[in-house]
Symmetry: C2
Subunit: 298 residues, 2 copies
């Protein structure tokens, strides 16, 4: 049976999501904890692979669990298997972190899902946030998740960002992978300076796309900050986009300002969405054809 | 010459302030970084020793620096020695943290102070905050610095806390040290649930005293939470205080909810304040006499 886990993490001390021998990774820690609790090998599929230092408040993974292990989970408690798994994973991960308190991974929810649910390919869209701190005295916690920059004009950045919206080949803003397209649909990009809430005093950039290529958010943010500081004109990021080439002009914003905030899935029809997304993202470079009946990504 | 350093830290990964062989401590990391930059041995005096897991946004230390080292600090840059030390320490500490981004220690300010400034004994008062998270879905960052509790009534906690204000022997809420008094003046204790700001949704307890004994804030918070959950009547923490004895009734709130927020110093007369504070805190247990001309702690 298939299980979905929603989790969050402070990426500061992780070498990213993907398991690597000898390095502390979120996938590595989570897999080890799951195998200890479930007593069988586990393979995780993730919604958004994050780089070293990148945070997530709402990452999603799926895995397949043997019926026998699932039934055994509650032990002698009156908990559901879901609750038992959530609580035991939380404790193991907190202990493994070597920190006081809850550690740097949080298990937010555990649930059973249909067998065609795919954490990666069933996703409709991903939302990321990027925080800048261009103020005088950065707070302790802000500083750990915001890029410290010279003062920026967030209105200029939003204007520059708006020119990137829509379906484009984002090659200028991606590290391309062999045999994978760099065409994406950027659905939303906003820059604002919240007056209240936990981001008060910071500049927050919010981006939503069907999916993001590797390093896409950080490259876009790097370009927008050049505009915000007045070093480049407002149409510069869009001109770079139009060139559709990977060159040394790429400015990569540091990872610690970036957070995966949300992954959206359809209400039903996971398998349908997964087949469409697989087809789209795996076609060869430059095949810029409409791949869904209405030519859109959703 | 005497130098004052203001710093903040996320205590999650530190075994507290005080240097301990083989363990990662704030004092240990800061001393190592200072000795690398200054090229002479360094001894730190701190305003508030914090336990493992406790955070600080405004910790204060002093140290003595050799004139020659101080003059050499700017190197060929046009920075002041203060700025040069702040920037170099920040970089060394970030690198030593092994994290992406700014690391878990922040050097907020470096400055020259008069030779009679004492980070510990010249302080007039310390302010600590303690955060509780009694909500449904804790945020990632809140969770790392708040104690997760059952729902509490913050008004009851504030009422119970008000009964502790003033000068008392806080033995019931302290781990006493040989030859040191446990008499302190609790100047302020408030509990509220901020509507906005970075603590929105949390319950925040703010405490101010001339100084706090070891584990005093966490013991007081532990007692207040018993009241907040309705397990003890409102006058229970005050009754425990009046008993003035250390027993198994102590409930120690976990360290990760606690943050040192502020240390206040007089405008001038550091030495005078330091002599008065030393006399007061080091007199023997129970010598409950007025130690300053007007009988107050400030």
């Amino acid at each position: 049976m298939r299980v979905r886990i929603d989790l969050g993490y402070d990426g500061s001390r992780f070498h990213g999501w993907a398991a690597q021998p000898g390095l502390r990774t979120v996938e590595g820690e989570l897999t080890a904890a799951l195998e200890l609790v479930l007593r069988h090998p586990v393979r995780l599929t993730v919604a958004g692979r994050t780089d070293a230092g990148v945070h997530a408040t709402a990452q999603v993974v799926h895995l397949d669990v043997e019926e026998e292990s699932w039934r055994r989970l509650p032990g002698r408690s009156d908990r559901s298997p879901q609750d038992a798994l959530r609580v035991r994973l939380g404790k193991l991960l907190a202990r493994a972190s070597g920190e006081e308190g809850p550690g740097d991974v949080i298990i937010a929810a555990v649930g059973e899902v249909p067998g065609d649910f795919d954490a990666r390919f069933s996703a409709l869209r991903r939302a990321y946030s990027y925080r800048l701190d261009d103020g005088e005295v950065p707070g302790l916690w802000n500083r750990r998740r915001a890029w410290r920059t010279e003062p920026v004009r967030e209105a200029d950045m939003e204007e520059a960002g708006a020119l990137l919206l829509g379906e484009h080949d984002f090659l200028s803003y991606c590290k391309p992978r062999e045999g994978a397209t760099t065409i994406r649909t950027l659905e939303q990009l906003t820059c604002h300076r919240p007056d209240s809430g936990e981001d008060a005093g910071l500049v927050r950039i919010d981006l939503v796309a069907d999916a993001f290529c590797h390093s896409m958010v950080r490259s876009i943010v790097g370009a927008l900050v050049e505009v915000g500081r007045g070093r480049q004109p407002i149409d510069w990021p869009a001109r770079r986009l139009a060139e559709a080439r990977r060159d040394r002009g790429v400015i990569l914003a540091p990872p610690h300002g970036l957070t995966l905030e949300r992954v959206d899935y359809p209400e039903t029809g996971y398998g349908l969405q997964a087949r469409a997304a697989r087809r789209m993202r795996q076609h060869s470079q430059g095949a810029r054809v409409a791949l869904t009946p209405d030519g859109s990504r959703q």
